[in-house]
């Protein structure tokens, strides 16, 4: 250091050593960057940007922002409890007229309808009415057309939807809404999502535990068998892994049907048919089957690396077979168990096709509702909020897992 402080070191041809080193390193760094760039771009384009878009969609008033500006301004002074004044009605009429000319009035009606059931038809008829009118007063016309226009809740909904951002989708995803006095729970007949999340985590948890109970002994068998037999067994384990998810789910559909082979067998033996398809039972059985390799393989790979001499040493030190297994072998498999279970649990949270095909209406998981809002309702905001909440809960669980177990202890292979 002392030398470097006095004068920079030079290479033989007189250039500063530091500059030379930086130049020599630069090409290496560029090469390294070049190697990761394709994947980085891929992840950016296909994962990070859509994730950001999804988050944005879940908080923005896409259908109404910029189309209810007059109304928004007119309602800015409104107390939120009474029927608004003529100015507000006139502003809404003007906004609807403008929207009708751009053929966007239906969008507004749809957006308000999310929060105020039945609003879509009222909006359509009043839009038709006001389009024909040249001047006001509008308030009487509105109230004459339908007394719903005198409901402060409808006007609150309009005010909330006219801004740029909304918390509606997020609140609705956890069964909450803006009421007259701040946040309130939605009526019980509309509250579904908390139940759906609970169900999603419950099914994922049960499937994870089942795959562990079923997979652990198989992994142990595979890890302790001689290579040729282990390879054969491995093919049986991997076979479902190599088959398409949809094909496997369809196979379960066929097996579990009331006229399916399992029920035929049951009828022969106990003279009774069981309801297995479209039940929670069917969902869990099919998911457990599909997830089994994901839990098993990390455990297997960890077990494969535990030298057999460890158990032998424990035996020679005086431990019985079970004691040796439990105190010496099992603790060493924990990183594999953690990895396998975390993998299965997180994959289970996102299950869609299997519950949709073999589960009943009460067995659908969050992904089903995401798809439902995307494909059937075309309500991207709700779908995005549901997905984002699932992502956040998963990340919190991952964080908790990392705190408790330590992610560096996890071994995938």
């Amino acid at each position: 250091m002392a030398i470097a402080d006095r004068a920079p070191l030079l290479t033989i041809d007189g250039v500063s050593l530091r500059a030379r080193l930086a130049r020599a390193e630069r090409s290496r760094k560029l090469k390294a960057l070049g190697l990761i760039l394709p994947l980085f771009l891929f992840v950016l384009i296909t994962f990070l940007i859509p994730l950001g878009r999804m988050g944005y969609k879940s908080v923005v008033n896409e259908e109404t922002f910029g189309r209810l500006d007059h109304t928004n301004q007119a309602l800015s002074e409104w107390d939120g409890q009474s029927v608004p004044d003529e100015a507000a009605f006139a502003a809404l009429a003007a906004d609807l007229k403008a929207a009708q000319e751009q053929r966007q009035a239906g969008e507004i009606a749809k957006r308000i309808n999310y929060e105020y059931a039945g609003a879509i038809s009222k909006f359509k008829s009043i839009t038709r009415t006001v389009s024909k009118m040249e001047t006001g007063p509008y308030k009487e016309v509105f109230l004459e057309a339908d007394k719903v226009w005198g409901d402060p809740r409808l006007w609150r909904t309009i005010r909330n939807a006219s801004g740029h951002y909304t918390s509606y989708y997020w609140l609705s995803s956890i069964d909450l809404r803006h009421g007259a006095e701040g946040l309130e729970s939605v009526p019980p007949d509309q509250a579904v999502f908390v139940d759906v999340y609970g169900r999603t985590f419950w099914i994922a948890g049960v499937v994870t535990v089942l795959t562990l109970i079923l997979g652990f002994p198989v992994a142990y068998l595979l890890a302790t068998q001689p290579a040729h037999r282990a390879n054969l067994l491995m093919i049986f384990v991997m076979l479902p892994f190599w088959t398409s998810l949809l094909v496997r789910t369809t196979a379960w559909f066929v097996l579990l049907r009331s006229e399916g082979p399992l029920n035929d067998l049951a009828e022969m033996i106990v003279n009774q048919r069981f309801e297995m398809i479209f039940t929670r039972f069917g969902t869990i059985v099919a998911m457990t089957h599909i997830q089994l390799p994901f839990t098993l393989l990390p455990i297997y790979s960890v077990m494969k690396n535990i030298p057999p001499s460890h158990v032998r040493a424990a035996r020679s030190l005086g431990a019985g077979p079970f004691h040796a297994f439990w105190k010496v072998y099992f603790p060493q498999t924990v990183p594999g168990i953690a990895a396998g279970c975390l993998l299965t649990f997180i994959l289970c949270l996102g299950y869609y096709i299997t519950p949709a095909l073999v589960g009943g209406p009460r067995d659908q998981m969050v992904s089903y509702y995401v798809a439902y809002y995307m494909n059937n309702i075309i309500n991207f905001g709700q779908a995005a909020a549901l997905g984002a909440i699932l992502l956040i809960i998963t990340m919190v669980l991952y964080w908790a897992y990392n705190k408790l177990v330590g992610i560096d202890k996890m071994k995938l292979g």
Partner: protein
């Protein structure tokens, strides 16, 4: 094949290991005085046991086959004395590890009986045999600290917490690792892990300790240090040790007796000195130490002497060991350090002209490869001391050896 030992050094009549053993004896003396081991000995209440007496471990007609077609261990009869350090030495696949595993209880003999302290243990589970074992790669439990590793056999035996603590302390002091109690195996060097494994195998005071190539993973210097350390611990505790290795230097350094295994059978069971000085067959002669081999046919056999015709070149007088009749093929075994250069007339029964082919300087001695009796790979060890003639490659010298030093063994 490795040369006998780096320590081989002189023309001395006795094998150089004797010298080594002499040095060791002195080292043992000082070591025994050291408080650590004696404290351990008192702590565990062990007394030095007699090495004589009836067999402590006994293999009786033991055979082992894994596939029902070939025998890995053939008709093994091996009595092991109480307090003895016995080494099973042999090349890989010779059955030595299988023998050890049968004794530990991890393999079941296909035929025969194994007795421990007069009791048949064929059907005793490994954890009920009370045998300490040190494994090749130590088999320390990676998820436990040193302390927990050592506590494992004691906790299984339901000792009180105070007893466990005291025994751990004594055992760690014995291997000089007292300050490592809280470390995990991964935080220890190879040598330290080895010591922990040793302490763990001894901490519950087994009467018998098995070691399966415990020093194989260590570097040469550490290995030699640990050889002496294990030997000293054995001597001070008086436990019976059965040690498996393929390193003959290790076997000779440490053992009271060595069983040389080959092809599933014991080739010779003897003390290290006996093995080196009096190999009973050409496998042992070749496996233990360095050895000049000359093939020939017996032409004369009378009691303690015989003559063997080697090629067309000449006849050698030798000591008959593994031959039965005139006309039989034999392999003559002659240690390189027993060959004398320019022997006086009548000093050696065998004297021949030899041509020096190659000289390799090795510090304390020089290896001379000479051509004699048509053999080009005949090796002589010439000590680098005064009065030894300088040799030149290509020159012709006169060499000789005594008939007693040249053993006529079975044809190899």
């Amino acid at each position: 094949m490795k040369p006998f030992n780096f320590r081989i050094d002189s023309k001395a009549e006795l094998g150089s290991y004797k010298k080594v053993r002499h040095v060791e004896a002195r080292a043992n003396e000082t070591f025994r005085r050291s408080s650590k081991v004696s404290a351990y000995r008192e702590g565990v209440g062990l007394k030095r046991m007699s090495t004589s007496g009836s067999a402590f471990v006994n293999f009786i007609d033991v055979q082992k086959s894994y596939d029902g077609e070939t025998l890995v261990v053939k008709d093994l009869n091996l009595p092991i004395r109480r307090g003895e350090f016995l080494t099973l030495l042999g090349p890989s696949g010779s059955g030595k590890t299988t023998t050890l595993m049968m004794l530990a209880g991890f393999e079941v003999p296909t035929h025969g009986r194994i007795e421990l302290d007069g009791r048949e243990i064929n059907n005793v589970a490994p954890h009920k045999r009370n045998i300490g074992m040190v494994f090749q790669n130590y088999a320390l439990f990676p998820h436990m600290t040193v302390e927990e590793n050592l506590a494992f056999p004691l906790a299984v035996r339901k000792l009180s917490k105070a007893d466990i603590d005291r025994k751990i302390e004594n055992a760690l002091a014995m291997v000089q690792l007292s300050q490592m109690r809280k470390r995990r195996p991964a935080q220890l060097s190879g040598g330290q892990q080895q010591r922990v494994a040793l302490a763990r195998a001894l901490v519950f005071d087994p009467k018998l300790v098995l070691m399966d190539e415990p020093l194989g993973a260590l570097d040469k210097q550490l290995r030699e240090h640990m050889q002496l350390e294990i030997k000293h611990i054995h001597q001070s505790l008086g436990v019976t040790v059965v040690y498996v290795t393929h390193d003959q230097g290790e076997a000779l350094t440490m053992s009271d007796r060595v069983a040389v295994f080959n092809d599933g059978a014991i080739q010779q069971l003897a003390s290290p000195a006996d093995l080196y000085e009096h190999p009973q067959n050409s496998f042992v002669a070749q496996f233990i130490g360095e050895n000049n081999r000359l093939s020939g046919i017996v032409t004369e056999l009378n009691g303690s002497h015989c003559r063997v015709k080697v090629g067309d070149a000449g006849e050698i007088r030798a000591l008959p060991v593994g031959i039965s009749n005139v006309g039989a093929k034999t392999t003559l075994s002659l240690r390189p350090e027993r060959v004398r250069i320019n022997p006086g007339d009548g000093a050696c029964a065998n004297q021949f002209e030899a041509r020096v082919e190659e000289l390799i300087y090795l510090g304390d001695h020089t290896r001379a490869r000479v051509q004699v009796l048509g053999h080009a790979n005949f090796v002589i060890k010439v000590p680098n001391s005064e009065g030894v003639p300088d040799l030149e490659p290509g020159s012709t010298i006169r060499i000789g050896w005594r008939a007693e030093d040249c053993r006529a063994l079975d044809a190899f």
